[in-house]
């Protein structure tokens, strides 16, 4: 290979070799050489409106496609604007490679203009990061970055490249092999532990499978279905696991935890065996940890050994790739029945369904239910953070993996819309719906410009209560209804806001409008905001109060209903 390419050109070559189609980014001085090199490549650059948007888009792209998402920003403020998005990707184990420009090496450490120690800042929120000191290291480091981001438990990797390092001549040949002696994920489950797990499963009368995002990351959803059906074990999912198991399936308990279904929470509380697949026993799932699954033995299967035994003691730990472990388990498992247990669950489902107020009011839960119906539970739904997020999780009824993108671990408002942009870029044919609230949307609505430029027919379903209503709900329960700092009196007319971007703006104000307006929006092939006007007084129920066990949830009806 001729050795007259620059570091930036070498970097672009690696991006091409890694199959990158799009880079989401925002330029600036320190990253100029990389932008210049990118101009000569087939790789498309998507110009965003705020760097935070770029990393959320890369996140949405990655979660939709299963490939590594890539974003790029300049030094200093460009890099710091990425921080929330990087932490979001880290908490949800999303493979993203983040490239930042840095001031020239001679200036590093001098508080130069737009210098910030972004590798220092992001140590706790990246799987790994690099400050590239020499141009010849660019090919190796970029290869490593992609490898680390996508393998094992996926996560974000940041590569910080000083301007001179990018523009100098690169003498290194790109190598195909990645050699990292300190990084060797374990994929194959230990056979002895698998035997022990099988024994436990055989002995169990009341087993529950508890599934998280790891099942989607390891592409194990088919195996999960086969395993659950063969063993006749009911399945509950976390927020991140939604869609990994079809929610209309007879064995589905739907979501568990803080705002989970009563039947999922009862089942987990009464279970004698809990099989955790790609989960981390997060506090939103467990409620008071000492009251979580008190009678259950626990089998925990995860690719990340550090998750096992972190929050709860585990009886059978299995470190490995879920897909491989499930294949092993399925092959050795005898078909089972558990008819008594399933009958009990059927009764719970009948006696404690998800419910919401009827009456003449426009109910957000009804709107989400309708959206599920009209899209065959198969749209690609993203959400922001708030009550609307929980209604999406509770009422859409997800039928397919990668069908729900939400910020589960960090709970980042402003995630949903940019994630929808990334998702639609990854799958141009998908029907993408961004479920959001007036609070969350206003943290990311500048990306309308990006969506217009890219000609993306995303449906933004905006539940407008002129309120940060999930926080209001917390004040309702925990602050004696002393509401503060939750009302917006200066909201724009969101339908008009859409129109000033040449997008479509629609409104839903009555229950009768739900179906026709949704149909219109879903079929118009255009970027559309559907503003759904709802009351700020809605509550997300059921809800497990602080420090309570899952079976101590507050169910419907509550208070003023």
């Amino acid at each position: 290979m001729a050795s007259t390419i620059t570091g930036a050109q070498a970097l672009v070559k690696i991006l091409e070799a890694e199959g990158v189609k799009q880079v989401f980014g925002y330029p600036g001085g320190a990253v100029l050489p990389i932008y210049d090199a990118l101009l000569d490549s087939e790789i498309e650059h998507v110009l965003v409106r705020h760097e935070q948007g770029s990393v959320h888009m890369a996140n949405g792209y990655a979660r939709t496609s299963g490939q590594v998402g890539v974003c790029m920003a300049t030094s200093g403020p460009g890099a710091t604007n990425l921080v929330t998005g990087i932490a979001t990707a880290y908490m949800d184990s999303v493979p993203v490679v983040i490239i930042t420009g840095q001031v020239a090496t001679s200036m590093v450490g001098t508080d130069a203009f737009q210098e910030v120690d972004i590798t220092g800042i992001t140590i706790p929120i990246t799987k790994h990061n690099y400050l590239v000191k020499e141009t010849k290291d660019i090919p190796r480091i970029m290869k490593e970055a992609f490898h680390i981001a996508r393998s094992g438990r996926p996560g974000p990797v940041l590569v910080d490249i000083p301007k001179d390092v990018a523009s100098d001549i690169c003498i290194a040949e790109p190598s195909d092999k990645v050699e990292l002696r300190g990084y060797k994920p374990n994929y194959k489950g230990h056979p002895q532990q698998i035997e022990r797990a099988l024994k436990m499963i055989n002995q169990s009368q009341k087993p529950v499978i508890y599934v998280g995002g790891g099942v989607i990351n390891s592409r194990a959803t088919e195996q999960l279905l086969e395993f659950a059906e063969k063993a006749q074990i009911p399945v509950t999912t976390t927020l991140m696991g939604l869609g990994s198991f079809p929610e209309n399936h007879k064995l589905s308990l739907r979501m568990l935890g803080l705002h989970g279904t009563p039947f999922a929470n009862y089942a987990v509380t009464q279970a004698d065996l809990l099989i955790g697949l790609g989960v981390r026993f997060d506090d939103r799932v467990t409620g008071a940890i000492e009251k979580f699954a008190p009678q259950a033995k626990i089998i925990h299967i995860d690719i990340d050994p550090a998750e096992i035994g972190k929050n709860v003691g585990v009886d059978v730990p299995i470190v490995g790739d879920l897909r491989l472990v499930l294949i092993d388990l399925i092959s050795k498992l005898e078909p089972q029945e558990h008819s008594e247990w399933l009958e009990q669950i059927r009764r719970w489902k009948a006696e404690h369904p998800l419910q919401y107020g009827q009456g003449g009011k426009l109910r957000p839960q009804y709107v989400m239910e309708k959206l599920g119906e009209l899209t065959n539970h198969n749209a690609l739904v993203t959400s922001d953070v708030g009550q609307h997020q929980m209604w999406a999780a509770q009422y859409y009824a997800f039928e397919r993996p990668r069908g729900f993108l939400t910020s589960g671990g960090l709970g980042t408002m402003g995630y949903g819309f940019p994630a929808a942009i990334g998702a639609q870029m990854a799958d141009r044919d998908a029907l993408v719906v961004a479920v959001t609230g007036d609070g969350s949307f206003q943290m990311a609505m500048q990306e309308m410009g990006t969506a217009v430029e890219q000609d993306l027919p995303i449906k933004i379903m905006l539940f407008n209560n002129n309120c940060l209503a999930l926080v209001r709900q917390l004040q309702h329960f925990y602050c004696d209804k002393r509401y503060t700092a939750v009302n917006f009196t200066g909201n724009p007319d969101f339908a008009k806001f859409a129109e000033c971007y040449n997008a479509v703006g629609l409104k839903i104000e009555t229950p009768e409008q739900v179906e026709p307006v949704l149909k219109e929006a879903l079929n118009n092939g255009k970027l559309t905001i559907i503003e759904v006007k709802i009351s700020e007084e809605e509550l997300v129920l059921p809800m497990v109060p602080n420090a309570r066990g899952l079976d101590e949830m507050v169910e419907f009806p509550y208070g003023e209903e």
């Binding site: 140590i123 799987k127 680390i148 990292l180 002696r181 300190g182 050994p305 550090a306 035994g309």
Partner: protein, 165 residues
Amino acid sequence: MKHTLSVLVENRPGVLTRIAGLFARRGFNINSLAVGETEDPEVSRMTIVVDGEDERIIEQVTKQLNKLVDVIKLNDITQDEFVDRELIMIKVCCDSSNRAEIIQIVDIFRARIVDMGRNTVIIEATGDGGKVSAIETSLKPFGIKELVRTGKVALVRGAKNRHNE
């Protein structure tokens, strides 16, 4: 119980920050940490002493450390046969009236006097944690002006080495 972790890491800038940051962030306590290059200049060895009554905390510490890409190998050598040493330097007040007594203590501990000023001496000693603390206690009555300890370094005894341990 104190645990001694022997950790081989990439000898790169920033590695110490990653490790120290991890301890701080996750609320683990470092008792001491010593680090230096090994026979392979690309690899450093850290000896980290961790306070951990709860075995689960130690398990988390080791698992989280192992997740760092720059950590090549980690061994909890607490239960192994190992040799450990610390180095201490103590500056003590010293005049003609107590010099003989101080020198006697230095002899008993097989320590050394490495500097002598008008009113002070600097004493250097190496040994395991117990010995180093003992010499400190013995010299305290004379008036310790300054003191520095390295933290523990340790190696497992016998044929085990970093390639086969």
